[in-house]
Point group: C2
Chain length 242, copies 2
Amino acid sequence: MSKLPVLEVFGPTIQGEGMVVGQKTMFVRTAGCDYSCSWCDSAFTWDGSAKDEIIQMTPEEVWERLNCLAPGNFSHVTVSGGNPALLKNLDGLLDIFEANGVAAALETQGSVWQDWFLRIQDLTLSPKPPSSLMKTNFEVLDDIITRLMDAGRLANMSLKVVIFDDKDFNYAKDVHLRYPAVPFYLQVGNDDTATENNENLTKKLLDKYEWLTDKTAADKDLNNVRVLPQLHTLLWGNKRGV
Amino acid sequence: MSKLPVLEVFGPTIQGEGMVVGQKTMFVRTAGCDYSCSWCDSAFTWDGSAKDEIIQMTPEEVWERLNCLAPGNFSHVTVSGGNPALLKNLDGLLDIFEANGVAAALETQGSVWQDWFLRIQDLTLSPKPPSSLMKTNFEVLDDIITRLMDAGRLANMSLKVVIFDDKDFNYAKDVHLRYPAVPFYLQVGNDDTATENNENLTKKLLDKYEWLTDKTAADKDLNNVRVLPQLHTLLWGNKRGV
Ligand code: SF4
Ligand code: SF4
């Protein structure tokens, strides 16, 4: 049975962003990423700083851990990263979820296709804007989105772009115009992932959220979109595992 | 042609709450409500204080006003109140929206059925908890939800309960358990709809949001639910027309 490189299992808590914002969920955070975004808020998943915390777990062990943390107290699990799309075999875990009536959500930047994408109830594709210093491979993203749409997964997928500046905003617009049928989310970037001054952070993030809503409201290319902050950051600042 | 009692037309802005939280949208606020909730944040729609601002508008006039405010700059309109379900004939306006590729959202407490509910893309039923001092007629609500579900509208509807205290929380639980298939939203109540001290209000609302997420996370009867604050209140406080 293939194992998963797990860094954190926590919850129940609230999904703070994206297509199921506010959803009560558990989190399983896996290690490893093929990107290295300049502002990555979970760099510990790939920069080596937490490598001693990675535990190789079978799907059964992940399931046990979830039930030990929250027996009977969840029906939704979010697999996050890093980039969980690097995991070739998530089917074992998804089998267990399915057998237990648990829905799975997952976010990936959209750099790799996996067949098990078709089994994710809430799949967020989050290509990275210029400020990340990464470069989107649009051929791969085209292919992923085509496969999902061909399989009738529109209600189970979304695109999300994190915005730090005007260039990111224009990138987001290009992405939305390229895939107009896909539910589209703009998200306020957090460029201060180190501060512990939460009141200050809240104010800064709400100011940026206002800036982003104003820009979106004024832009005719962005009529059918949703603009969101990260609710968990407003609640808990940069703390891990909440 | 029947006219609509319109109090405000504004936007584009962001829908701050509920099933399409974050959605770029226009607002059409209609006058009149059959309830008088103790903490109503739009009491001016029914308490007579803004009765001189009510304009009787034809659907065409509403459409003109929207396009005058935001030509080419919207594809989603939220009809709010008051209780817009008191409007017997919304079909004229919905016809115009449909002809122009515009989606309609609407929120009502669920005290009255209208056939045009079946034409609303994002319909929120928001029965009022004990703190409102209103009493839910569950026979009517049962009937509304049955009709919507029989028509296959699950993807286009949601239940939302605003929470101020423990009693409200238990009421929300009852509602969720009564209609487990309907997407369910818990929302933080704003019990200070008069203050202009926005920083203070933000802090208070985030504290209450944390209280509500903690309670929900701990409750096994509320596994498949979403918990949200009002984003517009975090952004703009109690200001009208944003
Ligand atoms: S893709 Fe995500 S996890 Fe990977 S570096 Fe970028 S932000 Fe971090
Ligand atoms: S139902 Fe809504 S508009 Fe009517 S009194 Fe209650 S909160 Fe106000």
